[in-house]
Symmetry: C2
Subunit: 420 residues, 2 copies
């Protein structure tokens, strides 16, 4: 079978399954989630075996250590997968939620009902745990899903998919509600993103290059996460004790996450007092610093490299930080809106008006006052789990959980009303 | 200047203006709306003159009468335009609305704030009134907008754009917040829909062909309205008096609107009683009927033509109706989900469970019980005005008003919280 025919078959099956999933009641969906979790637990040995083959092949192919790390499963990560599915079962079911009903002058009563999106295509790198997470979230939100994981994880993904199918069937749901693309042919991605008749939305998870290419070529809406170039601005009215703690945490708690601070902006008035203190912390932790002339003058040109224009645009995802002194709130906001990636940005201030202006004027999916940017994720926001963090403005913005995998329709309750 | 350079200049100016618009306060935006309305009223003669030139050219080009009709302005339609802008000024400003703030276990307080989308590109046919409506809605929602109207209306659109610019400047807002594409070159559309760096979302308004082409070629999200193939299902438990009134109204109140019923489904048990009555009304009003065998047997093969498979898919937008007898609720829902366009569908029933199932299982942007599908529009829904009716599931579904032209961002209020 050629790739197009194969993908269209997956699409057709997903579309049919999505109608059944949309009707499925909460108990049935939760039963399926538990059954999948149990199947994964029971299949731990088989999963480890399949994964070991993937890892061996990846090592033979000379895959980078960080990718091998993400590819590798062990008993603990498998247990985390099944536990994640059981947690999704505890989340409130968004499907069918109704609200807002109000009478209109015509006499109709108008409200909204939350509904599944339909069929979701997820394209991700060689991280087998995403297969279980994404399947669980899509299932709970009443959708069918087609999963296209990195080819290096194909054996692991197939093994997980078997558990998912078994769990779905055990709960009386269609096994085709969750399908894993069984070919490593790259043309499959090209097909998946250009079948609007079968796929309602694409969620790509992976590198910036992958996501940019998918966005450019897709013929269906894409919920995309590009980069996380996050800022903290230490205002003239900042509590510098809070600022030290927040700036330390935002940069050094984890270096590789998308909500990690990449540029620190400091108000000129407090720069001489604040910068030497915070930079001492960073240097102590081995963070490479790149600053503008003022920063270098205050902290020492031997300790802070000269930042270039490129640095302001960069998501390092590494122990590197760009630092800049700004003359006030307007400059800070302008810098963030120009150089940032509209992900998560923070002001540290005790000033009511500055906080309010920053919240309103910074155009990012999460804007914070006096808190670490590291809070910007689905678990911290109480979404239970996230399918990704959207840097788009359309549909879903910021951490995307169950709600982002649903839509709303209008409901009109009448008593024979006609339009006059 | 070539088209690409020209469109990029519009885009750059729009992006810059969008930042100012996002900051603009409610009073300033309302002042601008009133100033534009006043400018339009004052320029009535100039608008009529420009429009007369457009109409003369269109007549010379042999444009269809229906298109000439939509192109033509008169004193009343111009007054309706300015009145529409004043009405938009009375709508609540959605921008900056905050809510949902709740404490998370970490101590952060998490909520959301409504924000503009940024830059909106609107592509529409030769209907000059859309220029004022769309400008007003986008402006109130804090966006910048680039308007690309049908080339037959170019003189009218330029004249309206002059009023819009004057009003914006009078209120101290950037005149470039609303820009009309000043060329009739079709390549301008191709540029407009492929500048993600300058345009955040495209709203196409027009024929199915235009919208399908834009969706296929766009590199930015599209809020699209495809066809309105709306159904009414008369259930076994329908109150037939209500059913007669609703089915009459849904089909005959206006034939050309997208929320007009195109297919009538009748439960087999009530078909013999109901169909002859409703068909008498339709035939009396000159509606051409196309039915399945059962309908033709009940109403008369001389009065009802034989429907083909194509009829079930068709939005006639004309005094033509397809009719089918179905054996129950399941068949009705399956027919609607398969043949319909997910726009607006209605059940007439007194049965609680049937109503509830229809509302849940019909996958359309508006689903109604005992009301005419003609209610599905922005004014009837209290949105004040609509930029279009979305048949998409992503972002905005059904009538799109001010809210559909906005997004939400997450707001975190902290007191020095860091992630542990």
């Amino acid at each position: 079978m050629d790739i197009q025919t194969y993908m269209h078959e997956l699409g057709r099956a997903a579309r049919a399954a999505s109608r059944e999933m949309a009707r499925a009641d909460t108990l049935t969906k939760n039963t399926a989630l538990h059954a999948i979790a149990d199947a994964i637990d029971a299949a731990t040995d088989a999963l480890l075996e399949a994964n070991a083959e993937d890892v061996a092949a990846a090592l033979a192919d000379g895959l980078a250590p960080a990718m091998i790390d993400r590819l590798t499963l062990n008993e603990k990560t498998i247990a985390t997968m099944s536990e994640g599915l059981r947690q999704i079962a505890t989340l409130p079911d968004p499907v069918g939620e109704m609200g807002g009903f109000a009478y209109r002058p015509s006499g109709i009563q108008l409200g909204k009902m939350r509904v599944p999106l339909g069929v979701i295509g997820i394209i991700y790198e060689a991280r087998p745990n995403v297969t279980a997470d994404a399947a669980g979230l899509c299932l709970k939100a009443g959708n069918a899903v087609i999963l296209r994981g990195g080819s290096e994880a194909i054996r692991s993904n197939r093994a997980i998919a078997d558990c998912v199918s078994a769990g779905l069937e055990q709960a009386g749901l269609p096994a085709t509600a969750v399908q894993v693309v069984e070919t490593t042919d790259r043309a499959a991605v090209g097909q998946l993103i250009t079948m609007p008749e079968y796929v309602d939305v694409i969620v790509p998870r992976g590198g910036k290059g992958l996501i940019a290419r998918i966005s450019a070529e897709a013929r269906v809406p894409v919920i995309k996460h590009l980069d996380g170039n996050c800022h903290t601005y230490v205002d003239v009215d900042a509590d510098l004790v809070k600022a030290l703690s927040i700036c330390d945490n935002a940069k050094t708690q984890r270096y590789g996450t998308c909500n990690t601070m990449e540029t620190l902006l400091v108000n000129a008035v407090v720069a001489a007092e604040f910068l030497p203190q915070i930079c001492a912390i960073y240097l102590d932790k081995g963070v490479e610093l790149r600053g503008d002339d003022t920063v270098r003058a205050l902290v020492g040109a031997d300790r802070v490299a000269a930042a270039t224009e490129d640095d302001w645009f960069t998501e390092y995802a590494a122990p590197i930080l760009a630092l800049k002194v700004v003359d006030g709130l307007d400059s800070a906001i302008a810098h963030i809106n120009h150089y940032g990636s509209h992900h998560t940005d923070v002001i540290v201030t005790e000033n009511y008006t500055s906080a309010r202006r920053f919240l309103r004027e910074v155009d990012s999916s999460s804007v914070m006052v006096n808190a670490s940017s590291r809070f910007a994720d689905g678990f911290e926001y109480g979404l239970g789990a996230e399918i990704g963090i959207s840097t788009d403005k359309i549909h879903a913005r910021g951490p995307v959980g169950l709600l982002g995998l649903t839509s709303e329709k209008w409901i009109v309750l009448g008593d024979g009303q006609i339009r006059v």
